[in-house]
């Protein structure tokens, strides 16, 4: 088995086995604690340019399939696992993880002490790194890692957003529709009456497809616009509401997107997720900051402050909205129970709300799907 090495800017080098594509890539090294859903994670555009470590030990077991896809291509630079399965075992699978990564040009490494790596990132913060199956000179790799470009201040949305507008009509299928939850005794809530069709413009900064599926499943006609679209372009379509998607990297340099959102707040109901949440906050006057090692995983507890109940959420963000910078107009609606950071915001007077995490799940728990219902209610209230 060919070897590969992962070098960090602090000089640490991990040597393991190459899998997936061969080559050399650089990027921010981060980790994700989800125990399932590597294919959705690999296809999540928010990971653009990153080298991601899965903390779960055995990855690739169920192979890859045609359904667990969250965007048109794999955006990640490198993929780090403790142990990659050489076979795919699931009735849905169409191939192995290795072949999938190789075909998509994602460089992989396995067999390294991923826990040691995660402990380093946790205590020292995320850092840049180089993953290579070709270069075996550790000094050279470390030098490359130290000079690799950081995410901070970089506009990565332009690298992942669609080039043109398109319509979205796919709904959730039976396998991804959250199961209805009964009351004691087993009684299910009555099926909601079909609501009238609404038109939503989704500003795509690197949107996960399951978001659009959730909107479509709530009888929304979704027009997907590139994240660079202006407020006028959105308003020209006379939608009933606007959705601000997730996306990669630092929200700070995305002044054009903030401008667009600012032009829409108060004019249409707005719902944002992840980067969309940060853009809405910025548009309302708040600032963002970089977290030490981010939130990436499927087990982050978040409290809905309006009900006091806790939902287990899917998360993927390296930046967050700064508490001190919040303008009076914004109200915190959700908080992370681990570190107390802001997970959800609402405009006090205007129909605009957002969450830092991923209610569309994929991968992750379905606990937060209700947020799409709240958005739908905002559309219906207009």
């Amino acid at each position: 088995m060919a070897s590969a090495a992962l070098a960090l800017e602090d000089g640490t080098v991990y040597v393991g086995e190459s899998f997936g594509a061969t080559g050399t890539v650089s990027g921010e090294v981060c980790f994700n604690t989800s125990m399932t859903g590597y294919q959705e994670i690999l296809t999540d555009p928010s990971y653009r340019g990153q080298i991601l470590t899965m903390t779960a030990a055995e990855i690739g077991n169920y192979g890859i399939n045609a359904e667990d896809v969250e965007s048109g291509r794999l955006q990640m630079a490198g993929f780090v696992v403790r142990s990659a399965s050489r076979i795919a075992s699931n009735f849905t699978s169409t191939g192995t993880l290795h072949d999938y990564l190789a075909a998509a040009g994602v460089v992989g490494i396995q067999g390294i002490d991923t826990r040691a790596l995660v402990r380093k990132l946790r205590s020292q913060g995320v850092m840049t790194g180089v993953l290579s199956s070709e270069i075996h000179d550790h000094k050279q790799l470390v030098a490359m890692a130290s000079s690799a470009e950081s995410l901070v201040g970089r506009d990565m949305v332009r690298e992942v957003m669609p080039e043109a507008a398109r319509d979205w009509s796919d709904k959730l299928d039976a396998w991804s529709e959250p199961l209805p939850q009964p009351s004691i005794g087993g009684e299910l809530p009555p099926a909601a009456a079909e609501k009238p069709l609404k038109h939503v413009v989704a500003l795509d900064y690197g949107m996960k497809w399951n978001i659009a599926r959730h909107l479509a499943s709530r009888n929304c006609r979704v027009t997907v616009l590139p994240g660079s679209a202006s407020a006028d372009e959105v308003l020209a379509l006379s939608p009933d509401g606007v959705f601000l998607s997730n996306g990669p990297g630092d929200p700070e340099p995305l002044t054009y997107a903030v401008e667009t959102v600012r032009g829409l707040v108060g004019k249409l109901p707005i719902f944002g997720i992840c980067l969309g949440h940060q853009l809405l906050a910025q548009a309302c006057g708040a600032k963002t900051f970089k977290l030490k090692f981010g939130h990436r995983g499927g087990n982050q507890p978040v409290m809905d402050l309006s009900t006091g109940t806790v939902e287990i959420t899917s998360q993927n963000h390296g930046f967050a909205v700064e508490e001190e910078s919040l303008p009076a107009d914004l109200e915190v609606t959700h908080r992370n129970l681990n570190d107390g950071t802001i997970e959800g915001l609402r405009h006090r007077t205007l129909p605009a709300a957002s969450v830092q995490y991923h209610p569309e799940a994929a991968a992750g728990p379905h606990d937060s799907a209700y947020l799409f219902d709240r958005f739908r209610a905002m559309l219906d209230a207009v």
Binding site: T55, S85, P178, L179, P182, G186, V310
Partner: protein
Amino acid sequence: MVVSQLMPRRDDLHTILLIGSGPIVIGQACEFDYSGTQACKALREDGYRVVLVNSNPATIMTDPGTADRTYIEPLTWQALEKVIEVEKPDAILPTLGGQTGLNLAMDLARRGILEKHGVEMIGANAEVIARAEERELFKATMEKCGLETCRGRTVKSLAEAREVLAEIGLPAVIRPSFTLGGSGSGVAFNKGDFDAKVQRGLDLSPVGEVLVEESILGWKEYEMEVMRDADDNTVIICAIENFDPCGIHTGDSITIAPAMTLTDRQYQRMRDASFAVIRAIGVETGGSNIQFAVHPETGRMIVIEMNPRVSRSSALASKATGFPIAKIAAKLAVGWRLHELPNDITQKTKACFEPSIDYVVVKVPRFAFEKFPEADSRLTTQMKSVGETMAIGRTFKEAFQKALRGLEVGAFGFGSDGKDLWGTPHQPSLDEIKARVAVADPDRVWYLRYALKAGLSMDELYEITQIDRWFLDQLAQIVEIEEQVRAVGTLAGLGEPLLRKAKQAGFSDRQLATMLSVSELDVRETRLRLGVVATYKAVDTCAAEFEAETPYFYSTWESEDEVPAKAPGKKRVMILGGGPNRIGQGIEFDYCCCHASFALREMGIESVMVNSNPETVSTDYDTSDLLFFEPLTCEDVLNIADRVKPDGVIVQLGGQTPLNLARALASAGLPIIGTTVDTIEMAEDREKFRDLLDRLSLKQPASGIAKTLEQARREVARIGYPSLVRPSFVLGGRAMEICYDQAQFERYVAEAFAVAQGQPVLIDRFLEDAIECDVDCICDGEQVIIAGVMEHIEEAGVHSGDSACAIPPHSLSPELVAEIKKAASAMAKSLGVVGLMNVQFAVKKEDGEPQIYVIEANPRASRTVPFVAKATGLPVAKVAVKAMAGLTLAEQGVTADPQPAHVSVKESVFPFVKFAGVDIVLGPEMRSTGEVMGVSDNFSMAFAKGQLAAGTTLPESGTIFLSVAREQAKEAMVDIARRLQTLGFDLIATSGTARTLSAAGITVGVVKKLQEGHPNLIDFLIDGRVQLIMNTPRGKGARTDEGRIRAASVMHGVPCITTLPAAEAVVRAMEAQREMPLSVQAIQDRFPGVASANG
């Protein structure tokens, strides 16, 4: 930080009643001591007064310091009602005492006792429990909320069952309602089989109901551990995937955490479904276990069942993730919400999250079929394993191999060890391999390897076994690495990369040594020279996302180690635990290990626990200062010692497991504390031991030792019959038999040599009709305390672990007891024991004078240590550990033998109901799984309570069958019969015994012997026309008439007494029950003032 209105604990509750799970039986083991102990601590921490009832003395939860009020009393509704009357609890928490606790709480609810005394059920109320436990109600609830269950329904008769079969077809699953561990469950493949299983299920079910449903054999099986709080916050703690597909009880399956072969969508659907189940059933707070089956080709998902309580799997999930399910369940039951409770492991985060794990956990069940050769060893939906071991590794391969060596069955991984048949003359043929992998039994796992070695294709193996291909591929990878190592052929040629690769795949030094024909130590030396050393990683609930405060570790072979350095000035002592439960080694030894930790903590010494049993209190992360969840092999222990640098190692508390390692560990330079290894071995060395007894003028039955069959024959000729034959260095009387003649001797000596595995076989003169005594004592090297003298009820020859016994002795004279104590004391001093010693004596009348014989001495903790502690109030194990750590008995203030003011009886509990057809007669081979304790002012009542606690319902009226084999015993039987008649019972007997009784003027009915036709005793049993059997054996075995009668009595739930002394005790007990009502007493009242000392 978090804006939320705190909803603190309920302050309308003051006293909370907890019910334990009683004796260790198949399906209910140490896990409920673990969960109950956690619950007690959690509730007391919140200021509640906790009242605990449990009949099992060998538990940490029944230590006087665990609960506020502790009742070691029979788990019957009558005893519970008495406790409720005295303690007036506000609430009962029914979900932490296993199925026993749950059933008992339901019984109290149904009888209106809870309502009458104003006791609220918290966690789950009666309605909720019924919805989860009553199959039809459960299925209907599932259907209502849109989840699928197996097609089929509950029936009350065979005719009805046949109707269901017509709808669902064969194979069909049969499950009796309300039985423990799935007792009586099975899969029927043909109509005859179906009828038999339905009939048996109807008999076994306390409500006469069985569920008949479609088979899901071969489907993938999963378990979800769910927690819910009063605010409906619901989380999954762990998803467990079964290696063995559906059709095998999950307790008997190899299981893996986290789930390995589900996509995220498939997993999230199962998560959604789990939440739907717990909400529909309505478990308000606490943990539940929900089992699912998934069709491997379509993903169709079926809910198999749910347990609305903490379970064996939740204990496993707690150990697998670091999330203390039982503790949190107790807190939620009194009103806390998940996000208000801290995650102990990280301290900084809250308990409201879902653990993420960055390792793989494998659990492997441990079986005891060698004890029940007549039992069917095929695994079914009825649980048959007696214990389990868990292993943690960074990959499946590593965890799997570690678990196999942690099983302690002579294997050191997945083959390539002393147990491996491959490459030997016994290597199985391809046909045999195919046949063996098709049948799930305890040995299938070894045949999976042979199949891979024999080149069976993955598809073929999958077709035969339905084990997921991912698992099969992992096994194939292990075999590939094995073959790479074998191809190199020499240790010198191995090289660091392949050595590391093999270690990372879980290969032990022993396996490598076997493959490379070198010694285990050679491998170790080479390994250390090449820098291939074990590193230890923390179990932290969060995949390293947050810092872990709790030091709970497992080994792997990577770059970074997380074990904290020894604090300056602190000493560290390592305690070696007992590994998986088995018959003869179980919770009693875990109890001792826990007490070692408590004692060391009191002395300011850091305790380091090493154990591989996930059920136990010892593997709770807050029992010791450091916990290593590791197999108990020489290599694994030395690797830990390399890292923690212990100042002492305790080997005398974990049963035979650590003792078997003691010599090797001492040779490797580990500082064994307490009694030296030389002394431990000396007590096992027949000649040295005889010399010692001679010096002390103590008698021993004639004995000999043989290394060969020839020698054995010479020895038995010298010693004479009856003689007792057994292998040395084996606990629990494995392959121990009494031989009355040459023919029996030849048969049993061969078995003993087979079990001895190269160690010698011991032959003793057997003392017939002697009274046996056990003595547990503590010695600090100078002074001796006799903690307890136990007189056995059954005569010598019945294994001490199977015999009932009493403290203080009930028939021996005070002079004789004093002499026994003196003898034990002299032995302890002469041997130089530091710590515990157990001595077995036999008292035999010779020429009218009682003579004391020493049977054996074991300078280590015995199975009776916790019973003695509970009977006397002396924290025996703690005192012994402090002595080992250097505090003299005088320094501890322990200067006089305890003198209990009441009588305590220990009674044994057997697993016969799980092994249909097995003869239950007692002998020198131990077969009990657990024990209970009965306490009263007098022996008769204490014995009666012991019987009640053991589940033996002594009748108050009806018919008793008497049968006595030996001529000289008939006189004693006449006395028993007369007293039974006085109590108003009708007596029946077969012609021989009937003649004797009639001659003595006793009225007795005659019943036919089995070979005389019908109606015979078995017909009486089937018809419920006999309530008690007293049958002392003439012969043994399931094929004899007596054996069939005894086996039938088990199946029909009629108590069967098999020894004369026990029959006498039973009569006394029945007489006592007539005269006085059952009374209960808290242990804190028996021993005022010890609670704080005996924490």
